[in-house]
């Protein structure tokens, strides 16, 4: 299964309901953009979905969750820790195998940062760090992508490159975006969130930017 059907999603913060109750059905092959102004509950929704479909998803959280002291390679490799035995992972921590090195280098090349391979992520810029988290999600290679503002720190051409890559590599995805143009260009379905509820749910072909702007 790589589509899913979620119902009764709710979240409260300090006794106040911030999300739902709402239902969301995502079919295999759909690319869903979550749009809405900040504070509408997009991040909370991504987190809720992740809790439900954990095993099936590659996640790019807003705060990235990198281990700052480890080099780029290891942060990306972490996406597949479950695929290897403990001795293999431990050895990789000390000296990576060339097979994994090549895989990760390939990914980083596609993201335009192959030369940062051995730098600790603490020394990278915001945009570079974001791409490391994206590389980790790509390396994880789960059937579903859950991403929370994955291009917020990237400049124009790089943002397009990353979105195209995500579209190509993940059949099914849910991406929270504040950039409406990007959402329309790279996603097949737009879900607008307002005050914790679904305020808009439409195929992106039938929408224009101005239809969405009313949510903001």
């Amino acid at each position: 299964m790589s589509g899913f059907d979620l119902s009764g999603l709710t979240a409260s913060f300090g006794g106040e309901r911030v999300i739902g109750p709402l239902s969301l059905t995502v079919r295999e092959g759909e690319q869903v953009a979550l749009v809405g102004k900040s504070g509408a509950g997009k991040s909370t929704l991504i987190r809720l979905i992740h809790e439900r479909v954990n095993r099936e998803s590659s996640l790019v959280p807003q705060d990235l969750g990198l281990v700052n002291a480890l080099p780029v390679f290891h942060n990306v490799f972490m996406g597949q820790l479950d695929k290897h035995a403990t001795w293999y992972n431990t050895l990789t921590l000390i000296r990576p195998f060339s097979r994994n090195r090549d895989e990760v280098r390939e990914l980083l090349k596609a993201l335009g940062m192959a030369e940062k391979f051995w730098l600790p992520t603490a020394s990278l810029s915001g945009g570079q760090r974001q791409r490391v988290a994206i590389a980790r999600a790509l390396y994880r290679n789960a059937p579903v992508l859950l991403a929370d503002e994955p291009i917020s720190a990237l400049d124009g051409p790089m943002a397009h490159l990353v979105m195209a890559l995500l579209k190509e590599r993940f059949q099914t995805s849910i991406i929270a975006l504040h950039d409406v143009e990007m959402a329309l260009k790279y996603c097949s379905r737009i879900v607008g969130i307002q005050d914790g509820q679904v305020a808009l749910d439409e195929s992106s072909k039938r929408l224009t930017a101005s239809d969405i702007t009313s949510l903001y």
């Binding site: 959280p61 969750g65 002291a69 972490m78 597949q80």
Partner: protein, 488 residues
């Protein structure tokens, strides 16, 4: 001012110390203390490095015991830190670290004798307890987010190695290096109970009045600690750790019969051993409590409280010495030298020296504890003031001290003091071995009289007292919302 909880707490502690002073035995009893002190300083400025070959051996043994003890302690402590969330583990660690290295050494001496194992375990056991606590605190501080993002099904060990260790590696390393420095001090004072480290040679030089030899030893010890960054290198560590066990010396062989006797006979309370049963145990305990434990606890608490306040006073006088906000480079350099010497000298050695010069009373102990702990906290607070940026037109001199700096650092000053409260008490108890009537005195005399059953009960009481003060200190720190880092 008086309504501020931090000020009020400080005043209560000062008042307690003043009341304690009424009961404390503070005196200089030596017939000519200043001449002795003068001779000692003369010895320090005219050190004799070549009097005996024993000096270099003692230095080597001191380093070897420190390395083996701390390495063993850190490995055990690390393993314990992984299960530290379980209450029995916490209690176990609290007890083993509440018993001072010298007490452990005194215990092991009774059955292992002068075997290297005695010194190694005396350091490794309490250090395991300390490492377990601090390592687990450091591990708890790591960012949990990367761990949550791992693919489900990732092994526990891989998850731990990838997401926890790298995040706190620097802190773990810094703290372990700091503990190694403490280990050198612990190792040095183990000589006072007869192990072949610096303390042993210091004591024999002193008792023969060879102040120049003693001075040479102290100077070498300072050099050893001050140059640690130069000779303790990550790449050399495996060499040191693998090599150190070979430099512990031969000692005397372990007589296993003694080990068995110690556990099956010596530490069994004498009424039980003599078949008097529980009926005999009550009067035995009563006698122990009234004649030894109570006076020991009373003196330990009084001395601790006075020493704590004296440490505070010395700290507040000492930190401006290294603060960038006062004076020139010359004064700051001498300030640094003074603080380095104060904090590098183990309080036990300071107390021993002062006791030799001034005669037995609580005074040498108070001064020694205040100098050592004041040196440590003064250094930390002074460094902290260097991070403060004052407005360009800030007042100067004493007004700068009292209006700009003290209010800014007062909370961390108190935090450090309450953190070291328990450490001061542990040291106070142990100084009893030098002849001050704290708990250590009664432990030591029980051991001298071959009454190990009594000694064990007294050591346990000392441990409980330390744990009690630790809990109280933590409670006050939480109540006043004071924060400390573990590296103090």
């Amino acid at each position: 001012m008086l309504s501020s909880p931090t000020v009020r707490t400080s005043l209560i502690f000062v008042a307690v110390a003043l009341i304690g002073l009424l009961f404390a035995d503070i005196a200089i009893t030596a017939s000519n203390p200043w001449r002795d002190l003068g001779n000692f300083f003369l010895g320090v400025v005219t050190p004799n490095f070549f009097s005996s070959e024993g000096l270099m051996t003692a230095l080597l043994r001191t380093v070897a015991f420190a390395f083996v003890g701390v390495a063993l302690g850190s490995v055990c402590g690390f393993l314990l830190s992984l299960v530290y969330r379980f209450l029995p583990v916490r209690v176990f660690c609290a007890v083993i670290r509440a018993i001072h290295e010298l007490f452990w050494a005194l215990i092991f001496l009774q059955f292992f004798g002068f075997h290297p194992l005695t010194g190694v375990l005396a350091i490794a056991i309490p250090y395991s307890g300390i490492f377990a606590k601090v390592y687990s605190e450091i591990l708890d501080e790591t960012d949990p987010e990367p761990g949550r993002l791992l693919p489900p099904g990732t092994g526990t060990i891989a998850a731990f190695l990838y997401t926890r260790i790298p995040d706190c590696w620097v802190q773990l390393r810094t703290y372990t290096a700091y503990r190694l420095e403490c280990g050198l001090r612990s190792s040095a004072i183990l000589g006072f109970v007869g192990l072949p480290t610096l303390g042993f040679y210091l004591e024999s030089s002193f008792s023969q009045g060879l102040y120049s030899d003693a001075g040479a030893m102290l100077i070498l010890f300072y050099v050893l600690i001050a140059t640690m960054p130069l000779w303790v290198k990550p790449k050399l560590l495996p060499v040191y750790i693998l090599g150190a066990p070979f430099f512990l010396g031969e000692g005397l062989p372990i007589v296993w019969g003694n080990v068995e006797r110690f556990f099956t006979e010596d530490i069994v309370p004498s009424p039980l051993r003599n078949g008097e049963g529980l009926a005999g145990l009550i009067p035995w305990l009563n006698d122990l409590m009234i004649n030894e434990a109570m006076p020991g606890i009373w003196n330990t608490v009084i001395l601790t409280q006075i020493a704590l306040v004296a440490t505070g006073i010395l700290t507040s006088l000492a930190f401006p010495l290294i603060s960038n906000h006062f004076g020139g480079p010359v004064r700051r350099t001498s300030g640094h030298v003074f603080l380095v010497i104060a904090r590098s000298t183990p309080e036990y050695i300071l107390a021993y020296i002062l006791l030799q010069l001034w005669g037995p009373s609580m005074l040498p102990a108070v001064v020694a504890l205040a100098l050592h702990n004041g040196g440590i906290i003064g250094h930390l607070i002074g460094r902290q003031t260097n991070g403060i940026r004052l407005r360009p037109d800030a007042p100067t001199g004493f007004n700068r001290y009292s209006w700009e700096l003290v209010p800014r650092v007062y909370r961390s000053f108190l935090a450090f003091l309450f953190y070291r409260w328990e450490i001061i008490m542990r040291e106070t108890a142990i100084l009893g071995i030098l002849g001050i009537y704290t708990l250590g005195f009664y432990v030591d005399s029980a051991i001298q009289n071959i009454r190990f059953d009594r000694a064990m009960v007294l050591i346990l009481i000392t441990a409980l007292l330390n744990i009690g003060v630790d809990i109280l200190g933590r409670y006050i720190r939480r109540k006043l919302a004071l924060q400390t880092m573990p590296t103090c």
